[in-house]
Amino acid sequence: MKTVFIVYNQALMEKVMHILDRLNIRGFTMWEDVQGRGSDKGEPHYGTHTWPAMNSATLTVVEEETVPALLDMLKKLNSVSEKQGLRAFVWQVEETV
């Protein structure tokens, strides 16, 4: 089991949802309004007047074999409009209840 944490420009929310559905990933947790900025080129997404964009974050725990497909689709999504901003981070799930 792996945890995939996806942070992305709110504008991409529906598409991220679509990807999850496509891969039959049922469980996820989502924060609609989160702030952040990219480490490299990513513009701040603060939801302020200066930086009006906002991020959303989705955290999903999936079987290990699903991860590459998910990351692949997310990469594709990001490459269509890189300026919007999308990042995914994967880590191990130690235990579950």
């Binding site: 709110q10 504008a11 529906e14 200066t50 009006p52 890189e82 919007q84």
Partner: protein, 1049 residues
């Protein structure tokens, strides 16, 4: 914004909400009546008191002063003036505009009730009279006739007046001129004396003979019969054989003592249309009725009415006020349409895409139509003000949509789907859009709170623009993103014809962007030069203020000129009419291309406020429509004045372009200067007035100088010796009646024929009323002389000359008062000269004249209104500037940024002055209003630019980089919103069509101010920003570092 999200999610609901709004708007539009102005109730009430037998001074002392002293306490009173003449006192109370006149009237009634007991007992109860706009005729028709002339009045009464009265909303219909049938019993005094009869007896006999009387009823058998005594004359000739008395056993017939004429009433007024005899019918509207509806209804019925008239009677329209209204409204509607077309072109040019253009254009009808709902719900009309508001708004309603759409497009170009772009793109700029709308509202809403006449005029403007702009913002936040999400496509491949246009315009705009970037770089390097140039331009424009004249209201050409000409006192109507024919011919020939109809009335009118005399001629010229004429009515009026000055017979003349004095001109603009001379000594004031009127005549631009007090007019006065009257047992009133009955005559009875009644008037025959001697010869009879009982019991007879005397004297003066002081006013209308300048010159003249002690001179008239309105507007301007500052400061959360933006304001005024100077327009109420409105329109550009520079700075760019990038990025939205507003104003500023003159100054002022201030915003504001603009980000970082003790790192 939630509202955006849900409207994008529910496109059908959003669409239908706006469709519903539009349907309601169109429905409202269809039921809206048309009028020239919003409903205005003139705030004037007159109090009229009759006190028979008192002379002007007594009236002034005992009635006018008592009433005035108490009426001043009525609230909201602006001015109180009065005229006291023999037997009558009239007080004019002028109130503040916009107050409730019913309340004012009640308050006046209370005052009158309270002071009534201080008035002389014989005086009648004071009458209240509220002046009503409805009193100005909506329509004036003239009727001319040949063989039907003697019966013309009757015919008109039957077939025209009755018909017109039936039309809904028509108030009084009056006939002026035209003959009235009258049966005259012209008594020969000598014969009457021979039979020992008086005129009164004769009248009584005629009255007693001409009766029908019901005499009860009788039952005969089983039937009931009413009984009637019939004595009415069937033919007027029957009067001849009427037995009036018996003398020496012989019957005396009426024809023995008098000549009976079944003829026409003596003409008091001679009415002509294009020189033909006739009568004039004036139609007034009921208060609250709609002039346009009434006149279109009349026009519809007129052919039918004409059909029922004898063939020689012709009806022509002399004045139709609705014509001007309809034409003005039509031309304004056209203006709105042109403005719309210009806006569409600008948007298309900048965006280069049909779909985007369509989305933006759609906000125009959606938001404009809402104003009709407002007008309908508040019971207003479509008028010049409401339509001009729409012209003003049309360029502004697209602004929000443009900003929103621009941002959405940017998001789509970055790769969002239209739906997401719509939501997030709108959210990003939503706040800025609301803020700019708030600044506009901050300007227009206070407009609804201005007092005075200008307040009434501009309340609608304020409400409509506020409403329309608010709706346009709502549409920009809902409809625009919704449509964008539905209509815009991700790939913007443009091919074919449309693509070429787009490429063309986008190329130009790209080049413009980089050109502007270069200029900005240049100016930022030479800040001092730019500041010096700007300050010099502003300073220079202040100099223009002296060159640009001021005036109150611009005047409009409504195809009408009227003139009033006074011939020497004592001219008979016939002689006046004769002279009128000469004038008609001369003037008609000279201006044959321009005058359509001349309508003339010579002699005494019949209206309440008509103070014309038999020696006065009134002309109404109906001119050809303005586009068929080279000269405007003002020019023609000037030429006519020159012509009239050439006739030696004319004592005084006034030519009123635009229609009569007062009523017609009140709303049409036009200025008048009044020099008010106050002082108790009337003779001294009058002398001064004469001197002043001559001097003012020499001042440039003054016309139609008039002294308010009439020149005294000769009259014959009969005075009786009271002791002698008493000796013969006569009362003064009896004696006065004797004289009156013989000269003016009295109605003895009414002769009935075909359902109509005509007066039978008994008086001395004309040949016995020729000179003073005839009056002196009037014979008095007394039945019961005191002291010397007449032995035969017969009546005693005395001639008037034994009881009193007749003298020729000048009529007593009419005493005029203003604010409880005796005054004489010298008034002058102006043409071709600015009001401010003329006042200055007249003040100079007044300064040169010696003023006797106890006399003061003041200047009033339109100047007063102007000063009042201008000071109202300046207060408004201050208020507006403060409000706009507050709105901006709270948006930027800064004191400095709004200040920088507001630096463009002075230049807006520079632009206004420049534009006024170039076009030769004056600074008047309308252009001033335009300048006030500019405050809200001008700062919008500044907000867009400074906001973006702030943004770039906050995002960490260096100041000059931030400025240049923002400048390049904001140039298009700024140019686009500015161009839409300017081009939308263009049709108004060019001023084509009827009545356009009124609104032209506003268009010119806004275009000039906006164009110039936009230039300043684009060049000067960045320079100022670079000098003063704080870097919030850096300051914040410094503070934080300081707080945490990271200093020096």
């Amino acid at each position: 914004m939630k509202i955006t999200k849900s409207s994008v999610k529910k496109p059908i609901t959003t669409l239908l909400v706006f469709v519903g709004l539009m349907v309601f708007g169109v429905y409202s539009y269809l039921y809206l009546p048309i009028d020239l102005y919003p409903e205005i109730e003139p705030p004037i009430i007159t109090v009229n008191t009759t006190y028979d037998g008192a002379n002007a001074e007594d009236i002034e002392e005992n009635i006018t002063r008592v009433l005035e002293d108490n009426l001043v306490m009525v609230s909201n009173l602006r001015e109180i003036s009065s005229t006291s003449r023999d037997n009558n006192s009239t007080i004019f109370l002028e109130f503040e505009w916009g107050i409730n006149m019913d309340e004012a009237a009640n308050e006046i009634r209370d005052v009158i009730d309270r002071v009534e007991r201080f008035l002389p007992e014989e005086a009648e109860k004071p009458n209240l009279f509220k002046f009503d706009v409805g009193m100005i005729p909506v329509m004036v028709l003239s009727a001319t006739a040949d063989e039907s002339y003697p019966a013309l009045r009757q015919i008109l009464d039957d077939r025209v007046v009755n018909e017109l009265n039936r039309i809904d909303g028509v108030g009084a219909v009056n006939i002026r001129g035209g003959p009235t049938r009258e049966i005259q019993v012209n008594v020969d005094p000598q014969r009457l004396e021979a039979y020992n009869m008086t005129v009164e007896q004769l009248g009584a006999v005629i009255g007693q003979e001409n009766i029908d009387r019901p005499a009860g009823d009788m039952d005969i058998g089983s039937l009931n019969y009413p009984v009637r005594v019939e004595g009415r004359f069937d033919l007027s000739e029957e009067l001849n054989d009427l037995v009036v008395s018996s003398f020496g056993g012989r019957r005396v017939l009426l024809e023995d003592v008098a000549e009976i004429n079944d003829t026409l009433e003596k003409m008091r007024v001679d009415e002509r249309t294009d020189g033909e005899r006739g009568a004039r019918i004036s139609v007034q509207q009921q208060s609250g009725a709609n002039a346009v509806e009434i006149s279109s209804e009349i026009m519809e019925r007129l052919p039918q009415i004409k059909g029922a008239l004898p063939p020689d009677v012709e009806l022509t329209t002399i004045v139709d006020t609705s014509e001007f209204i309809v034409d003005s409204i039509d031309s304004l509607t056209q203006t709105v349409l042109y403005a719309g077309i210009f806006v569409v072109l600008v948007v298309l040019f900048f965006l280069g895409r049909w779909r985007a253009t369509f989305i933006i254009i759609l906000t125009i009808p959606v938001s404009l139509i809402v104003s009709f709902i407002y007008l309908n719900l508040t019971g207003n009309t479509i008028n010049i003000i409401s339509l001009s508001s729409l012209t003003l708004a049309i360029g502004m309603v697209v602004d929000d949509a443009i900003v929103v759409l621009e941002n959405i497009t940017k998001h789509i170009e970055r790769g969002s789907t239209p739906k997401e772009a719509a939501v997030y793109g709108t959210n990003e700029v939503g706040l800025a859009v609301v803020a700019t709308t708030l600044t506009v509202i901050a300007v227009f809403l206070p407009l609804t709170m201005v007092g005075g006449l200008s307040g009434i005029m501009f309340r609608q403007l304020g409400f409509i623009v506020t409403l329309v702009v608010s709706i346009s913002t709502i549409a920009a936040l809902t409809l625009t993103p919704m449509l964008s999400s539905q209509l815009l496509r991700m790939n913007n491949r443009r091919e074919g014809y449309g693509g070429k246009i787009t490429d063309f315009s986008q190329n130009i705009l790209k080049r413009l962007d980089s050109f502007y970037g270069n200029i900005l770089g240049w100016t930022l390097r030479r800040r001092i030069v730019v500041v010096i140039i700007a300050v010099a331009a502003f300073g220079g424009s202040l100099g223009l203020l002296n060159v640009v004249g001021t005036e109150f209201m611009p005047m409009a050409d409504n195809d009408r000129i009227s003139a009033e000409i006074e011939l020497p006192m004592g001219y008979k109507v016939e002689k006046t009419a004769e002279f009128a024919r000469i004038l008609e011919e001369d003037i008609g020939e000279k201006y044959s291309d321009e005058i359509e109809i001349i309508s003339t009335s010579a002699g005494q009118g019949e209206g309440i406020f008509d103070d014309s005399g038999p020696n006065v001629i009134e002309f109404t010229f109906r001119m050809t429509p303005i586009n068929e004429r080279d000269r405007d009515i003002f020019e023609i009026a000037d030429l006519m004045r020159e012509d009239l000055a050439r006739y030696p017979e004319i004592v005084e003349y006034s030519v009123y372009p635009g229609g009569g004095p007062g009523g017609g001109q009140m709303m049409m603009g036009g200025s008048e200067i009044e020099v008010i001379i106050s002082g108790h000594d009337i003779d001294a004031s009058m002398d001064l007035a004469e001197v002043l009127s001559e001097r003012i005549d020499e001042v440039e631009g003054t016309r139609d100088i008039e002294i308010s007090m009439d020149r005294p007019r000769p009259q014959l006065e009969v005075e009786f010796d009271r002791e002698k009257l008493a000796d013969h047992g006569l009362r003064y009133s009896t004696a006065a009646d004797y004289v009156r009955n013989r000269i003016a005559g009295f109605t003895a009875t009414r002769f009935r024929e075909a359902g109509e009644e005509f007066d039978v008037v008994v008086r001395y025959g004309e040949e016995h009323r020729q000179n003073i001697e005839d009056i002196e010869n009037i014979l008095f009879y007394n039945e019961n002389p005191q002291g010397n009982e007449n032995p035969q019991g017969r009546m005693e007879t005395i001639r008037l000359r034994e009881l009193g005397w007749v003298e020729e004297r000048l009529s007593p003066p009419v005493i005029e008062r203003l604010n409880r002081q005796r005054t004489i006013t010298v008034s002058s209308s102006l043409h071709g000269v600015a009001l401010g300048e003329a006042v200055e010159n007249i003040e100079k003249v007044v300064g040169q004249v010696d003023t006797p002690e106890g006399t003061t001179i003041e200047i009033g008239g339109t100047v007063e209104d102007q000063q009042e309105a201008f000071s109202d507007l300046f207060t408004l301007l201050l208020l507006v500037i403060m409000l706009v500052y507050i709105v901006m400061a709270s948006q930027f959360e800064s004191f400095r940024s709004p200040f920088i933006i507001m630096l463009s304001l002075p230049f807006a005024f520079t632009g206004v002055f420049l534009a006024l100077f170039i076009t030769g327009t004056t600074l008047n109420l309308i252009s001033l209003i335009g300048s006030v409105l500019l405050v809200g329109i001008v700062v919008k550009n500044g907000i867009v630019l400074v906001d973006f520079i702030n943004l770039m700075r906050d995002r960490g760019l260096a100041i000059s980089q931030a400025i240049i990038i923002s400048g390049k990025s904001r140039l298009r939205p700024v140019l686009m919103t500015t161009l839409t507003t300017i081009l939308a104003m263009m049709p108004l500023a060019i001023g084509i069509g009827e009545g356009a003159e009124i609104w032209q100054p506003m268009g010119i002022a806004i275009i000039g101010g906006l164009a110039f201030s936009t230039l300043v915003t684009l060049l000067f504001i960045p320079v100022v920003y670079s000098a003063f603009g704080a870097n919030r980000l850096r300051r914040e970082r410094k503070r934080m570092a300081h707080e945490m003790g990271f200093n020096g790192e």
